[in-house]
Structure formats: C-alpha cells, structure tokens
C-alpha cells in the first residue's frame, strides 16, 4: 500500500462491510482524494448525449468530478472532449453552457483552440516589431487543451481523464451494456434540463438511487399510485464487482401490493388525484420490464419507465454540496404529444419540484445536517438483504449500496478491518 493510500485508510476506518463510516461524507480531505482517485482515476464519467452536439462545432460545458470539461463535435464530425483550462495561464476558455463555434478563444491572452482542442492561435507568437515573442523552439502542437478520452454507447457519451481506464464497455459490463441498448434503442433528443444544488455529499445521492428500501416508505406519492413499490416483483443486478447497479421492476398483478402497506406510516390510502394525466403512463417497450433504475459508477444515474427517460449527472462541489443536472430525454422519432406528456409528467413527478424526487433532496440534506458535526467512528447501516455483494431477486435489499462501497474502497484504497 502506497503512502497516500495508507493516509486515506487511516482517515476512514471501515470496521464492517455492512456499514458506512460517516466521516466519508464530511471529510474535505476525503473529498480531495476522491477527485484524484475516482473522478480522475480509471473510470468513465457521463458527459452528455451525442444528440446535444449534433453539428460540427457544437459544444457543451460539463464536469468530470470538479474538473470543467467541454464536449465538442469536431469539424471531422467526431466527438472530442478537453479540460476547459487554457494551456497558457489556466483561465476558463469556454464560458457558455452550450453553443457552436469554429474556434474557442481564451479571454485572457486570446490563445485560440479548434473544436478538437488543438492550439491554433497565439498572439505575438513571433513578437511585435522584432521584439519579444515565444522562443523559437516553442511548439504549439504540444500546448493544446488537455484531452479527455471519449467513448460512447447508444448515443450516451462518456469521458475519462485516465490512461488506465478499461474500454468503456468493459468498464460498464455486459449486463449494463445490454440494458442501455434496450432502453436507448434509437436516436435520442434532449427535451431540456432541470438542476438543483443540494447541501449534501454526492455519495448520499448515489446511494439514494441504489436504495430500493426508501421508495415505498419516504415517497407516499409512489406507493399510492403504483409507480414503484418494494413489494413489486423486481431484482438487483450489478456489474464490475458491484460498482454499477440496475434495479428493475417487472409487471405484476396489482393485488399483490395492498397488504405490504398496512404498517407504513407514510401511506395515504385515501388520496385521490383530480387530474390523473400526470400518472397515466404508457409503456415504451414491448416487454415485462416496467422500470429500470441504472446507476453507473461514479455519478451517472438513469431512470427509464413509463414516459420517464431521464439521465441525472451528479456534480460534486465540496464534501457538503453537489449539483445534480437532470437531462429529460426523448426519442427523435416520437410525436409532439408524447414529448408534451414527457415534459408534463417529468416536471410534476421528478426533478427538484417533483412529487417524488423533491423528497430525496430533503432526506439527504437532513442526513448531511446530522453527520456534519460529530466526527469519530459513527457509522450507518446497510445490512438490508444481507452483508455481501451479489445479485438478488428482490428489492428488499441494500445490496446495490454495498456494491457501490466495495467499488469505492477498491479505488480509494480502504479495506474492511474489524
């Protein structure tokens, strides 16, 4: 174990594999190590949809961890990505969220770059009136923007800052690739974005999505309208040793559900909506899968079910804060009626204002608030459905959360030591 890894291991004491030490959510030094070992480590981070940058010169600004990155369609039609930091003095080069241009020019000294990130212009390179200028051995081709390696699957574009990352499809694993091919089975289109700033650690958000336990308990809206229930037939499948997880629910007779809620305090069986159009879902694909909740390590969270086709990107800002960007996705070949329904149902149920999702932000902020002060060796429990990490044929389990932490420890250099 290297000295750095020993440091991290000392900071965080993993006493059990069915528990999470709370310091991992609040320690700023851990946050810094995560940037280095996870986000700049051998993983692939979601950058955006190929459909968001359809034409040569189209670009969008995003992040890999805390590193600002630009995804750019090159003049050659290929996808490129680079770190958004001028090779000269480090200023932000691209300052718009999205756009199209032939050349990116840094505001500070007007160094300019092409859409592939190559340095193409340096003011006063040869000096002015015979004085100054860069040395004659200065080679512009060595001073492009730092490249981010790009790969895509089904129109979803990922990037990595590491030379050690395995090929994208090996990183994701066969089961995840199969599901992505099923869900994103034709040309995509972005219908827009929702964003929220949450005062909590980014990992609490990732865990929330891997947590099938809270769905029927916290979200009373869900349980009443049959959108998601723990008792629904479902399973958890993982790839890459637990890093990535897919929670799937399958169609099931409604009568199986009623008895599971008798002891649940948040269940409001007397609730009725006047306008049912927000919960009137039609299936997208002709199979028995109702919902796919896909979480890709480290921070890409996808939801597919009914009219929902959502990609969430969690952008860590500090140990105690993240931004989450929701991309509302549709298919290029669908009619306007279907798109309008996606917009309406997503706005009312999901996102920062949705009847279901707003509670997640509230719950994890309540968690961060409680964890912030104490320090010490306090830990949270993740033993629902056992203590180990293997696929399970039900959803009454926290196994996908245990899988996440197993992958996290492997990259961060921590081991379970009782």
């Amino acid at each position: 174990m290297s000295e750095m890894q020993a440091d991290a291991a000392r900071r965080i004491h993993w006493a059990r594999d069915d528990a999470v030490p709370y310091s991992v959510y609040v320690d700023e030094e851990v946050f810094r190590l995560e940037q280095e070992r996870i986000f700049q480590g051998p993983v692939w981070s979601y950058l955006g949809l190929a459909a968001e940058v359809p034409k040569p010169g189209d670009f969008l600004s995003t992040f890999v961890g805390t590193v600002p990155v630009v995804l750019n369609r090159g003049r050659d039609g290929a996808l490129h990505a680079f770190v958004n930091r001028c090779a000269h003095r480090g200023a932000t080069v691209v300052r718009e969220l999205r756009g199209n241009c032939k050349v990116h020019t840094c505001l500070y000294h007007q160094w300019s770059y092409d859409p592939e990130g190559r340095l193409v212009g340096i003011p006063y390179r040869r000096g002015l009136d015979g004085v100054g200028g860069f040395p004659s051995d200065f080679r512009p081709e060595e001073h492009g923007l730092r490249k981010v390696k790009v790969a895509s699957i089904q129109g979803l574009v990922f990037g990595t800052l590491s030379q050690q990352a395995p090929p994208l499809e090996s990183f994701l694993g066969d089961f995840v690739c199969e599901r992505l091919r099923r869900v994103f089975n034709r040309e995509l289109v972005s219908l827009g974005y929702q964003r929220q700033r949450v005062r909590a650690n980014w990992k609490l958000m990732v865990e929330n999505v891997k947590d099938s336990y809270h769905g029927a308990l916290l979200h009373a809206f869900n349980s009443r309208f049959g959108f998601f229930r723990s008792s629904q037939r479902g399973d958890v499948r993982m790839t890459s040793g637990g890093m990535h997880g897919i929670l799937t629910t399958y169609s099931t007779p409604a009568e199986q559900v009623a008895s599971a809620y008798e002891q649940v305090a948040t269940f409001k069986p007397n609730l009725t909506l006047e306008d049912m159009s927000v919960v009137r879902f039609t299936r997208e694909h002709d199979d028995e899968i109702v919902t796919s909740i896909i979480s890709l390590f480290p921070t890409c969270l996808m939801l597919h079910g009914g009219t929902f086709l959502i990609i969430r990107q969690v952008r860590p800002k500090s140990a105690g804060e993240f931004e989450m960007v929701w991309t509302i996705v549709g298919f290029a070949d669908e009619d306007e009626e279907r798109r309008a329904l996606r917009v309406k149902q997503t706005a009312n149920l999901l996102g920062p204002a949705g009847y279901v999702s707003m509670e997640d932000a509230e719950a994890i902020e309540a968690t961060q608030t409680a964890l912030r002060g104490e320090g010490g060796n306090a830990q949270g429990i993740i033993a629902l459905g056992g203590r180990t990490v293997e696929d399970q044929d039900h959803l009454v389990t926290e196994v996908a959360i245990r899988g996440f932490w197993k992958g996290y420890r492997a990259l961060m250099g921590g081991e379970v030591r009782p």
Partner: protein
C-alpha cells in the same frame, strides 16, 4: 417540440407601460395579492387566481434560451393545481421555509379583449427553521391576465427562473 414556438413568442413579447395608470395599478395589485397569498401559505386560495383552464409553469431560463420545453413545474388547470396543493398538504415531506416574495414594477402590453401580457421581476427569499435566509429564486413572471366582468385571473403564469439550479428543492408555487 409541442408549442415551443408559441412558448418562445409568448414570453419574449414586447411590453410597454403606456396603459392607463388605473389598469397598471389593478394589474400590479393583482400580482401583489397573489404573492401575499403565497407568503401567507393560503395554498387553498392559490388556484383561484387562475382561470379554470389556466396554465402555471416554472420554466428554467436555461431551457428558454436553448429552445427546449422542459419545465420545473407544469400545471394545466385548476384540477392539477388543487392536486399540487393536496400533495403539499397531505403527502410530501419537504422543508417548510418562511417565504417572502418581492416584486418589481410591471411592464404591460394590452392585447385587447380585456387581456394583458404582464411581466414583473420577482425575487423570493426563503428562511429556514434556524433563521437562516437565502435567495431562493430570481426571475420574472410572464403573465397573461384576463379581465372578465371586473375580475382578474391568470390565463397563464410562466415563471422564468434565472436561478435555474434550484436551491435544494422546489415545493410551494412561486
């Protein structure tokens, strides 16, 4: 995308203040009563500010500028508005902050037939249970208000939010 051209046209319409001052005052007072209703959390009264089939939505400036339709809230008619109130009262757990709305002066365009396009700057401050205040939202109301036999109602209220990254979550209407 559905109604997108219409959305862009509606919300970017030219406005002026060359309507009679009595009209300006009535319209401004109507929005003032609207935000008082929200600040005092009389949510049951909130749908009554809209026409029966009125539209309420919160629209991120990011999407407006990109020409994309996704909203943060989209409520089409009194029934959906009452459903939101029911969910906020009975179903959803959220931070029930103290809320203060601050409005700018309205810019108005008379569209004829007793209908006015009105845009008004809005700032919303939230204060939590420990007395900490923060800006929750800066934005603009883009309203279409109709005068029917002396009673004003929103045909449409679109809140274009500059604060398109929502602090935590968005529960109550703005």
């Amino acid at each position: 995308v559905n109604g997108l051209a219409a959305i862009a046209a509606e919300v970017s319409g030219e406005t002026s203040t060359d309507v009679p001052w009595e009209v300006e005052r009535r319209l401004a007072r109507f929005n003032h009563r609207y935000v008082q209703c929200l600040d005092t959390k009389r949510l049951d009264d909130w749908p009554g500010f809209f026409c029966e089939d009125g539209l309420y939505r919160i629209y991120p400036r990011e999407n407006l500028e990109a020409g994309l339709p996704a909203c943060l809230i989209y409520l089409d008619g009194h029934r959906m508005m009452r459903d939101r109130v029911l969910c906020l009262r009975e179903v959803i757990l959220y931070a029930d902050n103290a809320v203060r709305h601050f409005l700018g002066a309205p810019a108005i365009r008379d569209e004829g037939d007793g209908t006015y396009a009105v845009s008004t700057n809005v700032l919303v401050i939230h204060s939590d249970s420990e007395g900490h205040s923060r800006i929750f939202c800066a934005g603009e109301y883009r309203d279409r208000i109709v005068d029917r036999a002396g009673t004003l109602a929103f045909l449409e209220k679109t809140v274009v939010v500059d604060t398109f990254t929502v602090p935590s979550h968005l529960a109550h209407p703005v």
